[in-house]
């Protein structure tokens, strides 16, 4: 038990984001309204983004913009890798954010089409009205 507690304290960010991911996944599966499912999808994707960004953090390091880089002096100083956090997860997650926004846009367009046709967004009602066709 104390092992588990030290584990959680050391890696509480990962635990937090995994729980957030699972909340989003549950909303996607269990909710009835299409917009709520979409919001769950967004929570799920955002939690993955936060998970990646948190893995790039280093203790006592600052943002990955070289201080004093504007101008010529920076070319002559040596840059310490431990002073700046890892830029790669941020780059990957810029892409992931854009992908999630694009998917959200296309999903909203589809929801508009569904609403124009059936006048409802509840999944059980939709199933009924589709069967009646």
């Amino acid at each position: 038990m104390p092992d588990l507690l030290t584990e959680i304290v050391n890696k509480y960010n990962y635990w937090l984001y995994i729980i957030l991911m699972m909340i989003g996944l549950y909303a996607m599966i269990a909710k009835n309204n299409l917009i709520k499912k979409l919001v769950g999808m967004n929570i799920f994707q955002t939690a993955i983004i936060l998970f990646f960004i948190s893995m790039g953090y280093k203790d006592n390091a600052t943002i990955p913009i070289i201080m004093g880089g504007h101008g010529g002096e920076a070319a002559h100083k040596t840059i310490e890798a431990s002073q700046y956090i890892n830029p790669l997860p941020h780059v990957l997650m810029l892409t992931a954010i854009v992908v999630s926004v694009a998917t959200l846009g296309v999903a909203l367009a589809l929801i508009i089409l569904i609403y124009q046709r059936y006048q409802t967004l509840e999944e059980d009602e939709l199933r009924m009205r589709v069967k009646q066709k």
């Binding site: 991911m21 269990a30 070289i66 830029p87 941020h90």
Partner: protein, 275 residues
């Protein structure tokens, strides 16, 4: 469905949490994440690419291929919205319009054909309020400053947080502000659907065009070092110039697509009436 959801969530969450026991502790500087690739990016990034902002250096130079496809994702979402939603079916009933100088309200069948000067007429819908002078004046004053800030964010992406995506979204937001504070038709009058479509294609063509130019000049795709043959910049800064070029392309594409997605979703494809 709820029980199934609960079971799936507990299994997935349990597996993911079980695997965290092998992770290094949070923030540990000796983790493989921080010792394998990233020291090279941090120590050599400024020398090799000329950009102090390491995120932009990795985004636009080391992993520029990924960023090109990210722009293509945005572009694809915009074209998909047009493909799905755009309809050319017009209402047959006509709408109410208010003549602003005199305050007279008329029922007009087709505003494009029947009105001589459509700028003097405003659409009356459920949300119409008579006195939105403050909103219109403030937006009209703010929008140019927002756009200049957006251009600053794009151009300064090498030195401070920023870049093509961020600047493009801010620019797109300024046009959406125009559509929200006035109405959708006046914003479409200023920047038409044809211009938006061509701008979005132009943005991605700029990005891949710079890459293809590097290929034609002898290097691999997106190898900015070869651009010294056509640009009069010294070799230390050529990569930063290449990165600026692709960021401008990204900015165009993102700006156009944000406005395309807004206009199509807000007007449900008809481009008649927004929010």
């Amino acid at each position: 469905m709820k029980q199934l959801g609960l079971i799936i969530v507990i299994i997935c969450g349990g597996l993911l949490l079980y695997a965290t026991q092998d992770f290094p502790a949070w923030g540990d500087p000796t983790a493989p994440v921080h010792t394998h690739l990233s020291p090279h990016f941090i120590t050599e990034g400024l020398h090799e690419t000329g950009a102090p902002n390491l995120v932009t250096a990795v985004l636009a130079d080391y992993r520029g291929y990924d960023t090109m496809f990210e722009t293509v994702v945005v572009f694809c979402a915009g074209i998909a919205c047009i493909l799905l939603l755009r309809t050319f079916v017009q209402r047959t009933r006509g709408r109410e319009y208010r003549h602003t100088p005199t305050g007279v309200v008329l029922h007009i069948q087709d505003p494009d054909k029947d009105l001589n000067n459509p700028r003097e007429f405003e659409l009356i819908d459920n949300m119409w309020v008579p006195h939105d002078l403050i909103i219109k004046t403030v937006s009209r004053m703010l929008i140019p400053f927002i756009q200049i800030f957006a251009l600053y964010v794009v151009a300064h992406g090498d030195f401070s947080p920023g870049g093509g995506f961020q600047g493009g979204v801010i620019f797109g937001a300024s046009l959406i502000l125009l559509a929200l504070s006035f109405d959708l038709r006046s914003s479409l009058r200023r920047i038409s659907e044809k211009m938006l479509g061509i701008l979005s294609a132009l943005g991605v063509i700029i990005y891949s065009g710079i890459g293809i130019a590097c290929m034609l000049l002898g290097g691999n795709f997106l190898d900015y070092g070869r651009l010294t043959a056509i640009l009069p910049v010294d070799p230390d800064h050529i990569r930063a110039m290449g990165m600026l070029g692709v960021e401008i392309g990204v900015g165009f594409a993102v700006m156009a697509v944000m406005v395309i997605i807004y206009t199509n979703i807000a007007s449900q494809g008809r481009h008649q009436q927004g929010l």
